[in-house]
C-alpha cells in the first residue's frame, strides 16, 4: 500500500461531502427504431422516460422492475456507457454532461459497475491479478509491486487470497468469479457501485455470500450502491430505498420497508403480490390476483396510465389520464393513481406476512 493514491473523502474536484453522491434528474433515453432503405427513424423505444432519483452517501437504492422497464438502461446512462437523450446526471455535484473527457475518466474511477454474468464479464485470458489491477493501471493509481499488494488486499477483502492471483477465471466457481468482479469494482476506491443484476446468476447459498459481502463493504467503506435487480427478495434484504420502474418510468419510490408493507401504487402492489412466499401455509392462505398479460413493448407504451391494460383496478379514464409522480410525505413518491385503494381485497400477501411474522416474534418472545 505504498504508492496507492487514496481517494480523499472530499474529492480534489471540490465535491461536497454532504450532498448526495448521485443525482439523476429527468433522465430520458430513447432508442430510435430505424427501418427501410434510408434507415429512417420510424419510432422510438422509450427505454427510460423522465426518471429522477438521488442516492445518498453510504446508501443503497434499488431499481426494480420487470424486463423492459428500463432499469438496466438507466444504469448504463448513469455511467455514461451510453449517452442520455436528455436529462442530467450529477455525480458528487458535477454534471457528467459538462465535464471533459479527462474529468470523466477521473469520475469513472469513482463509479464502478458489477455485471450480472460472472461467466462472461471477465476476460478469460486475463489472470485475476490483471483483472483486478486493470483499473489501477488505467487510472495510474498504482503499478508494479504496489499494484500487486493492492490487488492482494482487495482479494482478501472479498474472501479470496493471494494464491488466486495467478489463476484465470475458468478456475473459479460462479460465486468466486463474482467476488473477483466485486474486487475489480473496489480497486479504484469508488464511491458508487452500480450492481446490475449482480447476484441474479448465482445459486441462493452463494448469492447470500455475495450479498453479505456487499453489505459489509458498505459498512466498512461507506460505498453507495445503485442496485439494479428484478428480485424483490434481494431488494428487501439489501436496499435502503427502492424505485419501482414500469415501462421506462418510476411508478413509486420509497423506503424499503414502507414500500413492502404499504405500497401506494397498484403496480407495486401487484408486483409484490406476485413474489412467491416461502412459507407454504401463507402461500396458500393468501388471496392473490395475478396480473393479466405480459409487459407491453416500450416502443409503444399504452396511452394514459401505462399500467392501465394490466391493472386490476383500471377504469375507463385510466386510458387517457396519465398520473404524475407526486411527493408524498416522508420523501416518498408515487404516481398519483386516482383509483388506488390501499387494500381492496382485505389483506395483501405482504401485510399478511408482516402480521404473521409479528405474531411469531411475540410468541417467540414469550
Amino acid at each position: 500500500m505504498t504508492t496507492v493514491a487514496e481517494q480523499p473523502d472530499a474529492g480534489p474536484t471540490g465535491g461536497t461531502v454532504d450532498g448526495p453522491v448521485l443525482e439523476v434528474e429527468h433522465l430520458t433515453k430513447h432508442f430510435p427504431i430505424r427501418t427501410g432503405l434510408l434507415q429512417r427513424t420510424v419510432g422510438h423505444v422509450r427505454a427510460v422516460d423522465d426518471v429522477s432519483f438521488h442516492i445518498d452517501r453510504g446508501e443503497t437504492l434499488a431499481l426494480v422492475g420487470e424486463s423492459g422497464c428500463g432499469k438496466t438502461t438507466t444504469g448504463r446512462v448513469v455511467l455514461r456507457l451510453i449517452d442520455p437523450t436528455s436529462g442530467t446526471v450529477r455525480f458528487d455535484g458535477q454534471d457528467l454532461a459538462e465535464v471533459d473527457a479527462d474529468e470523466l475518466r477521473g469520475l469513472r474511477q469513482r463509479m464502478q459497475i458489477i455485471f450480472q454474468d460472472p461467466y462472461s464479464s471477465l476476460d478469460p485470458r486475463m489472470s485475476t491479478a490483471d483483472i483486478v489491477g486493470e483499473g489501477l493501471a488505467i487510472h495510474g493509481m498504482a503499478s508494479g509491486q504496489a499494484q500487486l499488494d493492492r490487488v492482494t488486499d482487495l482479494l482478501e477483502k472479498v474472501g479470496l487470497s493471494a494464491r488466486d492471483l495467478r489463476k484465470f477465471p475458468h478456475q473459479f466457481s460462479g460465486g468466486q468469479r463474482q467476488r473477483i468482479g466485486v474486487a475489480r469494482a473496489l480497486a479504484t476506491n469508488p464511491e458508487l457501485i452500480i450492481c446490475d443484476e449482480a447476484v441474479s446468476a448465482l445459486d441462493v447459498s452463494v448469492q447470500a455470500q455475495v450479498l453479505n459481502l456487499l453489505k459489509d463493504l458498505q459498512t466498512e467503506l461507506g460505498i453507495s450502491y445503485l442496485f439494479i435487480t428484478h428480485d424483490l427478495n434481494v431488494v428487501r434484504y439489501i436496499a435502503d430505498r427502492v424505485a419501482v420502474m414500469y415501462l421506462g418510468q418510476i411508478v413509486e419510490l420509497a423506503e424499503t420497508e414502507q414500500l413492502f408493507t404499504d405500497p401506494r401504487h397498484p403496480y407495486t402492489r401487484s408486483l409484490l403480490s406476485s413474489v412467491p412466499i416461502i412459507d407454504p401455509e401463507l402461500a396458500r392462505a393468501t388471496v392473490r390476483t395475478p396480473l393479466e398479460g405480459d409487459v407491453p413493448s416500450p416502443s409503444s407504451p399504452p396511452s394514459g396510465c401505462r399500467f392501465h391494460n394490466r391493472c386490476p383496478q383500471a377504469v375507463e379514464r385510466c386510458r387517457h389520464y396519465a398520473p404524475v409522480l407526486v411527493d408524498l410525505n416522508d420523501g416518498r413518491q408515487a404516481r398519483e393513481c386516482p383509483e388506488y385503494r390501499p387494500e381492496p381485497f382485505g389483506l395483501t400477501a405482504q401485510s399478511y406476512r408482516e402480521s404473521e411474522l409479528l405474531n411469531q416474534g411475540t410468541e417467540a418472545g414469550e
Binding site: E66, S67, S173, G174, G175, Q176, D203, V204, S205, V206, Q207, A208, Q209, L211, N212, H230, D231, L232, N233, V234, R236, Y237, I238, E257, F260, T261, S270, L271, S273, S274, V275, P276, I277, I278, D279, P280, E281, A283, R288, P290, L291, E292, G293, D294, V295, R310, E354, L357, G361
Partner: protein
C-alpha cells in the same frame, strides 16, 4: 402402499467426460403419487434436472442410466428400447422446459407444433387441428385463433410458455415433468403460469414433477418436496414439513440463505460457506459435510444413508440416524 404413478428407486445416472465417467446422480429414490405435485429442489449441480431427464431418457448422448429403476404406472422404464420410450414420451409423460424462447422450434407455427405432438402418437391430422385450438383455450391463451398461426418469436414469453404447456397437455398425460418452467419469466408472468399449472392440474388430475431451484415457487405449488444436493436426495417430506421444519442441515442452511425467508425481519442472511463439490471430486463422507455447520468426524468418514422418520419423511444425515439411538424421532435406515 400409496398409489404412486412414478417410483424412482436407486437411480444412478452417469456421464462420460474427458476425465472419466462420473455419476451425476446416485442413489436417488422417491415417488410421485397420482394427482400430486412433487417439487424436486436443488441448486445447480444438484442433479435435479438430470433426474428429470432420466425419467424420459432424454439425456445428452454422453449420459446414461447406470443403475436403478424407474417404474411408471406399474411399468419399468429402465431398459425399454428407444422405440418403446417414444411411445411413453408425450403421451403418458410429457415435459415442459425452462426457457420458452429457445424450447419451441422457431421455424414452425404454434399450430404445427401442437399438431405434431398429437399426430406423432396417431391422432388424425384433421382432428389434431381442432384439438390444437382447444388446447390453446385450455391454457388461457389470449386470442387463440390468431396465435395458432403465429411463430414462436411473435409471442411474448408468457404466451410461449402457455403454448409449451398446451403441447405438454396434448394427450392428457398422467405425469407432467416441468423443468424450471418459470425461471426465465418475469415475476408477474411467473405468478400467472404457476396459477395456470395449479388450475390445469385440478382440471386434468395429472401428477406434476416440478423441478426448481426456487424455494418460494416450491412453497406455492408443491404438495411434497424432494431436496437434492450434489447428486443425492438429502431430504423429502410434505411441503409444510420440509419448509417449516427442515430436518436436514442442508435444507435448513438453504432456507437460512434465502433473502425471501428472512428479509424484513432485520436478520442477516446466513450463507452456506464454500462451494458445491465437483462431480469429479466428491468428498468421501457426507457430501455436504465440508460446508455443514453441524459436521463432526463421522460425517467426514462415512456417507450417511437416507433415513426415514415420521411418516413419509426422510433425511440423509448422521444426526437423523444417531437421533434414533438417542431416542429423538423414530428413525430407521432405509435400504
Amino acid at each position: 402402499m400409496h398409489d404412486a404413478v412414478l417410483r424412482i428407486a436407486g437411480l444412478r445416472t452417469q456421464f462420460r467426460t474427458r476425465q472419466g465417467t462420473v455419476d451425476a446422480v446416485s442413489d436417488v429414490s422417491f415417488d410421485v403419487r397420482r394427482g400430486e405435485t412433487v417439487a424436486l429442489v436443488g441448486e445447480s449441480g444438484s442433479g435435479k434436472s438430470v433426474t428429470a431427464l432420466s425419467v424420459l431418457q432424454l439425456l445428452e448422448s454422453t449420459g446414461s442410466i447406470a443403475d436403478g429403476s424407474i417404474v411408471f404406472d406399474g411399468r419399468e422404464l429402465v431398459g425399454l428400447s428407444e422405440k418403446e420410450m417414444r411411445d411413453v414420451r408425450g403421451r403418458e409423460i410429457s415435459m415442459i422446459f425452462q426457457d420458452p424462447s429457445t424450447c419451441l422450434d422457431p421455424v414452425f407455427t404454434i399450430e404445427d407444433q401442437l399438431v405434431e405432438a398429437l399426430t406423432i402418437h396417431g391422432t388424425a391430422r384433421s382432428d389434431a387441428r381442432g384439438r390444437a385450438l382447444e388446447l390453446l383455450r385450455m391454457v388461457r391463451m389470449p386470442d387463440p385463433e390468431t396465435r395458432l398461426n403465429a411463430y414462436p418469436h411473435e409471442l411474448s414469453g408468457g404466451q410461449r410458455q402457455r403454448a409449451m404447456i398446451a403441447t405438454a397437455l396434448a394427450l392428457d398425460p398422467q405425469l407432467i415433468i416441468a423443468d424450471e418452467p418459470t425461471t426465465a419469466l418475469d415475476v408477474t408472468v411467473q405468478a400467472q403460469i404457476l396459477d395456470l399449472i395449479r388450475t390445469l392440474q385440478a382440471e386434468t388430475g395429472a401428477a406434476v414433477l416440478f423441478v426448481t431451484h426456487d424455494l418460494g415457487v416450491v412453497a406455492e405449488i408443491a404438495d411434497r418436496v424432494v431436496v437434492m444436493y450434489a447428486g443425492r436426495v438429502v431430504e423429502q417430506g410434505s411441503v409444510f414439513q420440509v419448509l417449516k421444519d427442515p430436518r436436514n442441515p442442508y435444507t435448513a442452511a438453504l432456507l437460512a440463505s434465502m433473502p425471501g425467508a428472512v428479509a424484513g425481519t432485520g436478520q442477516r442472511l446466513t450463507p452456506i460457506e464454500g462451494v458445491v463439490p465437483s462431480l469429479l471430486d466428491m468428498p468421501s463422507g457426507c457430501r455436504f459435510a465440508p460446508r455443514c455447520p453441524h459436521a463432526w468426524d463421522r460425517c467426514h468418514e462415512a456417507d450417511p444413508p437416507l433415513a426415514a422418520f415420521d411418516l413419509n419423511r426422510e433425511s440423509r444425515c448422521w444426526l437423523e440416524v444417531d437421533g434414533a439411538v438417542d431416542g429423538v424421532g423414530t428413525a430407521e435406515v432405509v435400504g
